[in-house]
């Protein structure tokens, strides 16, 4: 059985623990044909178009685990469930970290296990396995910009960044606060402790950055001391746009210049986006000397 998932907060690490083959769908190289699938209206998020098209492929996962991190994902889950094709589990990740939230989250994980058990016997093992966190921000001194995404960073954006910046620190909206030390942590022996660990250590931007006094993000900005910050938003994602002021306020407080890039197409870069990244790179690099 192949489990497809989108949110790394309960991603590879959890699925390795329970012994199932899981695929991070964000990393699947697949170009959506561009047409809006007939079951969606044209103003929906193009990440959802991409994802729903991808799920029609022959090598698509057998089951899908979606989270409550955005309205579009929830609607995608509803749409897939109503059609009765791909089995979908909707996992609710609480935004708080108190004991009630931990218990609730552990219950959610138990439900996921039971749901998976209907087709395939799985259990939480709590064994020591090598943890594979998807995007660990590098904390080297040479890091130039910090990239914080209000949306899941598209694959092409990584390439564009690498072409323009020598050491970009990429903080994806998904699992941005994972720490190198966290990745070496041994998994706790039971689900409640695991749930507590996940909620307390790695909060994604969607979950935790909805207030200007976000200490985790502040700490990360202070640690990396970036020369500039990029905020990535999607034209169709209002959530990402609404979160930008909090990020900007935080960067302003830490005297980090911040640039927002709104991408009109999640799957392919437009010339305007490439122009903006190239220009920001030149501005950032030319800070101490004339760019001319």
């Amino acid at each position: 059985m192949k489990v497809g998932y989108y949110c790394p907060l309960v991603g590879q690490e959890f699925f390795r623990q329970i012994g199932v083959h899981a695929v991070d769908l964000r990393k699947v190289k697949y170009l959506h044909k561009g047409a809006v699938p007939s079951e969606y209206s044209a103003d929906r998020c193009d990440v959802v178009f991409w994802l729903s098209d991808l799920l029609k492929n022959n090598d698509a996962p057998d089951v899908l685990v979606l989270t409550n991190c955005c309205y579009e994902q929830e609607k995608l889950g509803d749409s897939l469930q109503s059609k009765g094709g791909l089995p979908v589990f909707k996992l609710n990740i609480p935004r708080n970290t108190d004991s009630v939230a931990v218990t609730y989250f552990a219950e959610q994980l138990k439900k996921l296990l039971l749901w998976l058990n209907e087709d395939f016997p799985v259990s939480y093992r709590g064994q020591k396995v090598k943890c594979l966190n998807e995007k660990l921000p590098c904390l080297d001194d040479g890091c130039v910009p910090i990239v914080l995404s209000g949306i899941s960073i598209p694959q092409w954006f990584d390439t564009v960044l690498e072409e323009n910046f020598m050491y970009p620190v990429i903080l994806d909206t998904c699992g941005i606060f994972y720490d190198k030390n966290d990745s070496r942590q041994e998994p706790p022996g039971n689900l409640v402790k695991y749930a507590e660990m996940v909620l307390n250590r790695g909060r994604c931007f969607r979950c935790s950055a909805c207030n200007a006094s976000n200490t985790v993000l502040q700490k990360r900005i202070q640690e990396t001391r970036p020369a500039a910050a990029l905020y990535l938003a999607n034209e169709y994602c209002t959530t990402a746009v609404f979160r930008y002021p909090y990020f900007k306020e935080l960067c302003d407080k830490n005297r980090v210049p911040v640039y927002k890039i709104t991408i009109p197409n999640w799957q392919e870069p437009t010339p305007q986006v490439l122009e903006q990244v190239e220009l920001i790179a030149k501005i950032v690099k030319g800070r101490d000397e004339s760019i001319f």
Binding site: E235, P257, P264, T270, Q272, E275, E278, L279
Partner: protein, 264 residues
């Protein structure tokens, strides 16, 4: 005294969405010539077939490309983002510039410049309203050439509301005004007023630093500049050839790189 490369030509080519602009400068940075070629599918594909020799008999020492099509120009020795070139060209023409407002064929840019450096920018590439392409479309609806539109005598200062923020709906409003027998010059005046207001909102949100320079083809539309100054309540400088400043900047950047390379 003859400069070491006084006979050389350094070209800047701005490959925009509505036109290709070419500027040639000499070794001292003086403008020798400029040219504008309307963009169409043929010359975008055959951009490398432009015969630069028709502009000057002197040897072309460097070609620096800019604009969204800059990567299509294989002959170019170098390429630079349009905003950098725009700023470079304007700083060459005017000292102490604080803000550059550029309305291009498909987007609007506001560039903050300090101490000869680009420090920040704003780009609106989401909406066609207020771009050069929109003006072309309106001129077409009114049965005017761009030159006729930009030089039309505006008889009075009255404006009729063109409220829509969308190019498509604004077009519908203009057609309605024609149907109501509204004077063409009044429609044009109203259109410029509406465009100036829309642009001013973006500029104000970004912030305005003195001295303000306007670039892009809309700069030749005097009435639009009048309204923009009125709305922004500041003096706006428009270069003599506002479409060519990015190409000029590219030519200068190419020249400096080549001269550095040659040890001049």
């Amino acid at each position: 005294m003859t400069k070491p490369d006084s006979g050389a030509v350094y070209l800047g080519v701005d490959l925009g969405s509505t036109a290709i602009k070419i500027v040639g400068v000499n070794g001292a940075g003086d403008i020798l010539f400029n040219d504008l070629i309307r963009t169409n599918p043929q010359n975008i594909l055959n951009i490398n077939s432009i015969d630069y020799r028709k502009y000057s008999d002197n040897p072309v020492k460097s070609i620096c490309a800019t604009g969204y099509g800059r990567k299509n120009l294989f002959e170019a020795n170098c390429a630079s983002p349009e905003i950098i070139c725009q700023a470079r060209g304007i700083i060459h023409l005017y000292e102490g510039v604080g803000t550059i407002i550029d309305v291009g064929g498909q987007d609007t840019k506001v560039i903050e410049v300090a101490k000869s450096k680009v420090v920040n920018f704003y780009m609106n590439d989401k909406c066609a309203a207020g771009t050069g392409r929109f003006i072309e479309k309106v001129a077409d609806i009114l049965g005017l050439s761009l030159k006729e539109m930009s030089t039309m005598k505006i008889e009075d200062n009255d404006v009729v509301p063109i409220t829509s923020v969308c190019a498509v709906f604004a077009e519908t409003e203009i057609i309605s005004l024609i149907a109501k027998n509204t004077n063409i010059s009044r429609i044009i005046n109203s259109l410029y007023y509406s465009l100036a207001n829309r642009l001013a909102n973006n500029v104000r949100a970004f912030g305005l630093k003195d001295k303000v320079v306007f670039t892009g083809g809309l700069g030749v539309h005097e009435r639009f500049i009048y309204w923009l100054q009125e709305v922004l309540k500041c003096k706006i400088i428009v270069p003599a050839s506002p479409q060519f400043s990015a190409a000029l900047g590219a030519a200068l950047i190419g020249k400096e790189l080549k001269q550095n390379e040659d040890g001049l």
